[in-house]
C-alpha cells in the first residue's frame, strides 16, 4: 500500500453563498466519502478542512501578508491522506471525494524509509 494526499480545490463562492442549513449536506457528503473509501478497499490516514482563503495569510522571506499565496477562482479548501494499492486505486478513491465545482489533485506522499529505485 502507498499513501496519497487528495488535495481538494473548490470554488469558495459556493460556501460563501450557501445557507447555514447547507452545512448538513456538506458534512453528510464527507461522511459518505469516508465510508466509501473503506468500501473501496482503502483507508483514510488523515485529513482536514480549511477555513476560507479570506482567513489565510502568507509568510515569504520573513514578511507576513494577508491572503492566500496563490490567488485563483478555485482554492485549496481541504485534504485527505489515504492508503491505496496504486495510482489507479487512489484515483478510484479520489473520484468519491466531494469537490463542488472544482476538482482534486492526487499526490503520492514522500516516504523517507523507501529508497527510490
Amino acid at each position: 500500500m502507498s499513501e496519497y494526499a487528495i488535495l481538494i480545490y473548490e470554488d469558495p463562492a459556493f460556501y460563501e453563498t450557501m445557507p447555514p442549513e447547507g452545512w448538513g449536506a456538506v458534512v453528510e457528503a464527507h461522511n459518505e466519502f469516508t465510508k466509501g473509501v473503506v468500501e473501496h478497499g482503502g483507508s483514510i490516514t488523515g485529513g482536514g478542512a480549511l477555513k476560507p482563503v479570506t482567513m489565510a495569510l502568507t509568510i515569504r522571506g520573513g514578511t507576513v501578508t494577508d491572503g492566500p499565496f496563490v490567488e485563483s477562482t478555485e482554492s485549496f479548501l481541504g485534504y485527505y491522506t489515504v492508503e491505496a494499492r496504486d495510482l489507479d486505486h487512489a484515483i478510484e478513491l479520489a473520484k468519491l471525494a466531494p469537490a463542488t465545482g472544482g476538482g482534486v489533485e492526487l499526490r503520492p506522499l514522500h516516504d523517507p524509509s523507501a529508497g527510490q529505485l
Binding site: G46, G48, V53, M55, I59, V64, I91, V104
Partner: protein, 116 residues
C-alpha cells in the same frame, strides 16, 4: 487552536539550489519538526514533487483524469502540517523559524482549520 501550515515552493527556482545546500536545509527542517514536536498534530503530509501530481476533475459524463497539478500557478504545494497553538501569533512565530524559508521561491500559508 488548530492551523494548517502549507509549504509552497516554486519548482523552477528549486532547481537552482545546489544539492548540498538542499540536503543541509532539509536536515535542519527535519530537526525543526523535532524541536516543535509539542505543537505538531498527527495530521500532515510531505508530498512528492509536483511532477508526480494527477488531477481528477468533474467532466461531462464521468470524472476526467489528467496529468499535472490542479492549479496552473508557478508555485506548488510541497506539503502541509496541522499545528495546535494558542493563537495566530504563535503560529506565525513558529513558521518564521522554518528553515526552508531561506530558499528562494518558498512560502508558507497559514490557515485556520474548521472544527466541527
Amino acid at each position: 487552536m488548530k492551523y494548517v501550515i502549507m509549504f509552497t515552493t516554486t519548482p523552477e527556482l528549486d532547481a537552482a539550489v545546489s544539492p548540498e545546500r538542499l540536503e543541509q536545509v532539509y536536515r535542519r527542517t527535519y530537526d525543526w519538526f523535532g524541536t516543535n514536536r509539542e505543537v505538531m498534530t498527527e495530521s500532515g503530509a510531505q508530498l512528492q514533487p509536483v511532477t508526480t501530481a494527477t488531477t481528477v476533475t468533474h467532466g461531462g459524463d464521468a470524472p476526467v483524469v489528467v496529468d499535472g497539478p490542479f492549479s496552473e500557478a508557478k508555485e506548488a504545494i510541497g506539503g502541509f502540517q496541522v499545528i495546535d497553538v494558542p493563537d495566530l501569533d504563535a503560529a506565525i512565530a513558529i513558521v518564521k523559524t522554518w528553515p526552508l524559508l531561506e530558499l528562494p521561491g518558498v512560502s508558507v500559508e497559514i490557515r485556520p482549520i474548521i472544527v466541527y
